[in-house]
């Protein structure tokens, strides 16, 4: 395992006040390393997405801290956190959240454009990343014209186009059939993951567990288990 990419210390998050108060995550601590494919698994409502949001600088914890590459992100200003997300973290959302009014390549280029790269240059780089995910020939199509698996790959291309150190996938196989889901994760493991990158996948799809380097189990807001998968498919 490589260096620590993310370190979560005693994270607590609750929603609501008084009688409506619900604690989604109760004192969660863990580490995710570079070169590692970490799964956060558990049933619906176990706090996976809340934990994911806190470690990626999207949702502020009520207690605890998150260190990304050694920096406590929740001590930063909101614009600095936004910058950190833009430069260090790539997201693949469960529903992909591609822009239907933009072409596929324009979708991929979004993080580059946010990084102030010139438009044509961003499209050129975007095309290279579309090539990596095998969709170069779909560059000028709108996302709605692509299949679910293809949209997923476009979302991955967008997430990696900004060259992030940490990649976060939220239920990447939830709306895909078994075969396509497996191919996506295999692609992530073989083409996306490397020694300088950490990939965290939130899932409850047990069909893809065999690819994980580490699996962290959650239930009712608690981390109930953390195991290294020595038999992970390389």
């Amino acid at each position: 395992m490589g260096k620590v990419a993310i370190k979560a210390n005693a994270l607590v998050k609750w929603f609501g006040e008084g009688e409506t108060k619900t604690t989604a995550v109760k004192s969660a601590s863990f580490e995710a390393n570079f070169g590692e494919l970490l799964y956060i698994v558990g049933p619906s409502g176990s706090g996976k997405t809340t934990l994911l949001s806190m470690i990626s600088g999207i949702l502020k914890p009520n207690e605890g801290s998150v260190l990304v590459e050694g920096k406590d992100i929740w001590q930063m200003k909101s614009d600095d956190i936004a910058d950190l997300r833009l430069h260090k973290i790539g997201f693949v959302f469960q529903d992909y959240h591609l822009f239907p009014r933009l072409t596929t390549v324009e979708n991929v280029a979004i993080p580059l454009i946010l990084k102030k790269m010139e438009w044509n240059e961003a499209l050129k780089v975007g095309l290279e990343y579309l090539d990596i995910v095998g969709l170069k020939d779909r560059a000028q199509l709108q996302p709605v014209k692509l299949s679910g698996g293809e949209q997923q790959r476009v979302a991955i291309a967008r997430a990696i186009a900004g060259h992030p150190d940490i990649l976060i996938f939220d239920e990447p196989t939830a709306s895909l059939d078994g075969d396509t889901g497996r191919k996506i994760v295999e692609f992530v493991k073989t083409k996306i993951l490397n020694a300088e990158r950490c990939v965290i996948i939130v899932t409850h799809d047990s069909r893809i567990y065999e690819y994980a380097d580490s699996i962290m189990k959650m239930e009712d807001g608690n981390i109930i288990g953390f195991e290294r998968n020595t038999n992970a498919i390389p």
Binding site: S53, F93, H97, P111, L114
Partner: protein, 378 residues
């Protein structure tokens, strides 16, 4: 254009139905506002046409006069008194009245008659045919060649007509800066011929036109005229008095104001509602942009750009449509009283900016409220 604005533009224009709905709303509102204000401007401008055409610096009148064509004749002593005021270079009478002209065809046509001071012909129009000294010839009249000229069967120099049972002879054709409001032709003659040909009351002087020695003499002249029980107004003051009369005392101003306000509200409703729907439909995408790393001010810039872009295109289309319609109307009706002024354009532009501002405000509030966490939760 920066990349983020390009994304904003593509999100906007590629959603064709919403973009067209937004444009239609703003264009329609601008069109109505410009049309209403232009018609009103045209009417106000025409209502003061005599004041512009004569061009005198100071007009002396009865205080009850509220528009140039409805003069109240003044006794001769007012003219003598005016001439004796310090600071008056010269003062001359002018006559404004109406008469019936019997044309060669036997048809009757109402005309507006302007009687110029016999000695100076002060306020005379620019001739395009004939010589000004011919106005002293027997029964001589100069006809203004404007949009109403055809109503006199397009007379030429030498054409004869009857005016209030007197012989009239066209000795010249003239042009003036502005046509009248009421759609009747204008003829010029001398003051004395005018009061001879047209039945009048005991007093005959419609207005006294004064040329001051210096601009600084004007307040003193106005003060002295006021002591006589009359009113001396500069050209701008007289134009304002006429405008105020039409604006506040005829109901015309209130009607225009209401129509303009309704146009604005309609435009605001359509554009605001459509833009709000557009933002709602794209809310998740804005949330995704936030999650990826877009900052709040970048999202605000995107929304402001989208609203401003739509507003400016709609403004251009609205102004173009209104101008086009006015051009067509003027081709059909040369006396059509509507004019696009810088004031109208500026006012409509400000209204459009308000529309864009309100629409943006609603959108910005919504977008700033969306949390990237909501995107994760789905």
């Amino acid at each position: 254009m920066s990349g983020i604005l390009k994304i904003a533009l593509k999100l906007l224009v590629n959603d064709k139905s919403k973009f067209i709905a937004l444009l239609v709303g703003i264009t329609f509102a601008v069109f109505l506002m410009i049309m209403m204000m232009s018609m009103f401007s045209g009417i106000l401008s025409r209502s003061s046409s005599s004041v512009y055409n004569v061009g005198a610096k100071i007009w002396v009148m009865d205080p009850a006069v509220n528009n140039a064509t409805s003069s109240i004749p003044m006794p001769d002593y007012v003219l003598s008194s005016a001439r004796s005021i310090n600071g008056v270079k010269y003062a001359v009478p002018i006559y404004f009245g109406n008469a019936l002209v019997k044309l060669k065809s036997g048809a009757y046509q109402a005309v507006s008659v302007v009687g110029l001071d016999d000695a100076t012909l002060y306020g005379r129009p620019e001739l395009i045919e004939g010589k000004i000294e011919d106005i002293y010839a027997e029964s001589a009249f100069i006809v203004v060649k404007d949009a109403e000229f055809k109503k006199l069967e397009s007379p030429a120099v030498g054409t004869e007509f009857e005016i209030n049972d007197h012989r009239g002879l066209v000795v010249g054709l003239a042009k003036v800066a502005s046509g009248g409001l009421f759609g009747i032709p204008t003829v010029y003659t001398t003051y004395n011929r005018a009061i001879t040909y047209i039945p009048s009351m005991r007093f005959t002087t419609s207005y006294i036109l004064i040329e001051p020695k210096h601009e600084s003499d004007i307040p003193f002249i106005q003060q002295q005229i006021k002591k006589l029980g009359y009113q001396a107004l500069t050209r701008d003051q007289f134009v304002k008095k006429i405008s105020d009369f039409y604006t506040y005392q005829t109901g015309m101003g209130m009607n225009v104001l209401m129509m303009t306000a309704i146009s604005f509200i309609v435009g605001l409703s359509i554009s605001g509602q459509t833009f709000y729907t557009f933002i709602l439909e794209n809310l998740e995408r804005f949330g995704a942009l936030k999650a990826i790393g877009a900052k709040g001010h970048e999202l605000i810039t995107m929304i402001l750009f989208q609203a401003s872009f739509t507003a400016l295109i709609g403004y251009g289309l609205g102004v173009g449509l209104a101008s086009g319609l006015m051009i067509l109307a003027k081709l059909r009706l040369p006396s059509y009283a509507a004019q696009v002024t810088y004031y109208n354009l500026t006012f409509a532009f400000i209204m459009v900016l308000i529309m864009a501002g309100v629409s943006s405000y609603i959108g910005v509030r919504k977008v700033l409220q969306i949390q990237p966490f909501d995107i994760f939760r789905g």
